[in-house]
Symmetry: C3
Subunit: 301 residues, 3 copies
Amino acid sequence: MEVKREEKLQEAVSDILKSYEERGELSHLEGGTLPNRETIWGIVEDLLKLLFPGFLEGTMIPRDDIAARTSERVSSLERRLKGEIEKGLRFKKEPDAGVQERSRKARAIALKLLAEIPAIRELLAADIGAAYEGDPAARSDEEIILAYPGLQAIAVHRMAHVLYVEDVPLVPRVMTEYAHARTGIDIHPGAQIGRRFFIDHGTGVVIGETTQIGKRVRIYQGVTLGALSLPWGAGELLRDKKRHPTIEEDVIIYSGATILGGDTVIGARSVIGGNVWVTESVPPDTKVFLKKPELVYRGGS
Amino acid sequence: MEVKREEKLQEAVSDILKSYEERGELSHLEGGTLPNRETIWGIVEDLLKLLFPGFLEGTMIPRDDIAARTSERVSSLERRLKGEIEKGLRFKKEPDAGVQERSRKARAIALKLLAEIPAIRELLAADIGAAYEGDPAARSDEEIILAYPGLQAIAVHRMAHVLYVEDVPLVPRVMTEYAHARTGIDIHPGAQIGRRFFIDHGTGVVIGETTQIGKRVRIYQGVTLGALSLPWGAGELLRDKKRHPTIEEDVIIYSGATILGGDTVIGARSVIGGNVWVTESVPPDTKVFLKKPELVYRGGS
Amino acid sequence: MEVKREEKLQEAVSDILKSYEERGELSHLEGGTLPNRETIWGIVEDLLKLLFPGFLEGTMIPRDDIAARTSERVSSLERRLKGEIEKGLRFKKEPDAGVQERSRKARAIALKLLAEIPAIRELLAADIGAAYEGDPAARSDEEIILAYPGLQAIAVHRMAHVLYVEDVPLVPRVMTEYAHARTGIDIHPGAQIGRRFFIDHGTGVVIGETTQIGKRVRIYQGVTLGALSLPWGAGELLRDKKRHPTIEEDVIIYSGATILGGDTVIGARSVIGGNVWVTESVPPDTKVFLKKPELVYRGGS
C-alpha cells in the first residue's frame, strides 16, 4: 500500500516534470527571475504607508521620528523597487544593452517614482476632496483614507502609471492587480486620469489602457470604459492603438454604464445615466438616460 | 554614482517630508493614533470564529476546552475592541469630555457588542436557513458557513451595525470594508436589515447607509440599493437624511437591479426583475420586469 | 469598576456558551474536524506554484533543483490534500464504510488530482493562448500568468472540478471561493468548461453549477450564466437538476449579459451583446443585441 503510494507519487512527479519541458511557456525555468507578485504587493503596501503617513500603522509615529522613519522607508522602497523593475526590464521587446545598463535604468526609474510622491499626494488630496463632496455618507477625510476602496485604487493607479510611462513591463500591471484584487476596481496602468477623480463603491469598474479622463470626473460601481468588440485574432492589430474612450472634464457616469471605443468622446459636463450603453460620442452639456423602460407590473394573486 | 544615488534619495526624502507638512490632511502625525485597519480586520476574523466555533479553526475544539477557549477569546476581543473603539471615539464631532470618560464608554460599547453575540447568532441561523432554502446548489449548512460570501458579509454587517448604532466613528466602516474587500459586497454599517436575509453570489452588491430591509428578503449579485443622483456639492445637505430605499418583507430582487431614493418603497412580497431600474415606489404583491427587450437577431454569413 | 467588567465579561461568555448549545448548527463542536479554509487556500496557492513553476516564487528555481523541488511539492500537497479531502468525505450523505476506507479513498483522490496536473497545464496553455489573442492589452504570456485574474480563476476551477467529479463535499467549493475572493469571478466547481476559455477583467462573473461551456468561448466582466428564478422553498426540488445554460463552441458573451435556465442553449459561433438578458435558446451563428435603446438627450442649461 505504502509502496503503491510511493510509486504513484513518483509517477505524478515524473509526468509533471515532462510537462514542464513540453509546455515551456508555463514553466519559467530560465531567462532570469520574474518580477514577483508577493514582493510587488508588499512594495505597494509600503508605498501606501509612505503616501499616507500615520494612517496605516498600528501606532502613532512620534513627530521626532518621522524624518528617520521616512528616510528608512524611502531607502528600502528604492532598493526593492529597483530590483523588481530590473527584472521587469528583461521583458522589453527590445531589451537594454546589458546588465549594467539595465541596473542603472532600473535605479533611475525607482528614484523617479519616489520623487513623484509629493506630486501624487497633491493629486490624492484633490481626489479625497472630491470623494467628500460627492458622497453624503462620508464623515471625514480620515474615513475616506481608511475605508474607501476607490481611493485605494486611484492611489495605486497614480503610482503604477509612473512606471507605465517609463515603459516598464509587468510591474505596473501587477501593481494595479493589487488594487483590483482588493477593491474589484480594474484600472489599467496606462489610463490617463485627471485631478479630483472619484469612484464610489467601485466593485466591477473597468477602465481600459488607452482611456483618457479629464478633471473632476465621478463614476460609480460597475462602470466600464472599454474597447469595442473585436473578432478572434484581431487583438494583434489593435495593440498600441487607442481603443478606449475619452471622458472630458466634469462628467458624471452612473452605475452600470458602459462606454466603448477609442473614438468615443463624452463631452464636458455631460451626465451618463445608469446602465446606459454608449458607443458614440456625446456632446458637451448633455444628459443621456435610458428612456424610461416599459416595466411590466403584474399584481399578486 | 553611489554618491549621486544618495543625493537623489535624500532629495526625495526631504521633498516628501515637506509634503507631509503642506498636505497635513494626508499626514496623520498628531491627534492620537487612528483606528488601525489591520487590527480591526484581525478583530473581525476572531469575531467570526466566536460566531461559528469549530468552523474556522484548523482542528477540532475538544468539548472540554470550549468554555476556556471562549473565555479567552471574549477577553482578548474585549480588550482589542475597546482599544480601537476608543481611538474611533476621538473622531466624534462633539468629542467626549475626557480621556477617562472615553475609555469608560469604549469599554461599555465593546462589552455591548460581545453581549449581542448570542442574538446575532440567532439572526445568522435564520440567514443560513434562508440561504439553504434559496439556493439549490447549497448542500449543507456547513457549506454555507464555510463558502458563502453572502453569509460572511451579513455576519460582519450585523456586528458592525451594533457599533454604528452606538455612534462609533470609523471602526464599523472599516469592519464592513473587510467583507467588501473579500466578497465584493458593500453593505454600509448603517443599513437596517431584517431576519432571514440572503444574498446569492453577491459580487457588486451595494446597500447604502439609510436602507431599510424587512424580513425574508433575497437579493442577487450586482443589486444596488442606492441614493438618487446628486449634483456636485449637494453632499453636505444630504448627510444624515434618508437617501436609500425601503424594502418590505418577502421581496426578491434579481441580479443587476437598481433601486434608488430615500422615498422609494418596494412593497411586501414584490419581485423586482433582473436589471430593472426603479426610482419610484412599487406597491405590495407586484412583479416588475423589464418589458421583454427587442433583441436584434442577425444570422451568420 | 474592574469587578463590574469581569462580571460583564463572564456574563457574555456564559450567554455565548449557552448559544453554542442551543444553536448547534452554528457550532461545530463534534463530528470531526471540518475542512479548513486557511489550509485549503494554502493548498491552492501551492497548486498554482506547481502549475506555473518559476512564476510565483521570489527567486529563480535552478534547473538542477527542479526535480527535487517538484518532488517535495507533490509529496507535501498529496499529504495535505488527502487530509482535507478525508475531512470532506465525512460530509457525504451516504458516508463511506469506515475510517480506513475513507482514508484510502481520500488518498486515491488526492493522487488523482496530482496526476491530472499535466493535463490541466495543457488546458491552461490553451487558455493563455486565448487570452493573448482576445486582449490587445496583453503584452506577453508572462503578463497573463502573473496578472490576469481570469486565468487564476480558471486554473483554480479546473483543479476544483476534479474533486467535484469525485464527489468530494465542501473542499472544491472552498477552493473556488479562493478565486472568487481574489478575482470577483464566481465559478461553481461543477461547471463544465471547454478548451481555450477566456474571461476578460472578470469582476462580477457568475457561472452556475450545471453550466456547460464548449471550446473557444470568451466572456467579459459581469456576465451571469445562472438559474431561472425560483420561488421560496423550491430549492429542494431543483437540487441536482440541470438549472444553468449550455454555451456551445466559439460563442462570445459581452459584459453584463445574463443567460439563464437549464434548457437555454446558445448555439455555436453566436455573439451575445452587452447587457442582453436571455432566457431562451439562441440558434447557432446568431448575433443578439439589445435594440439600440432610445436614449434621452437633454442639452445643458
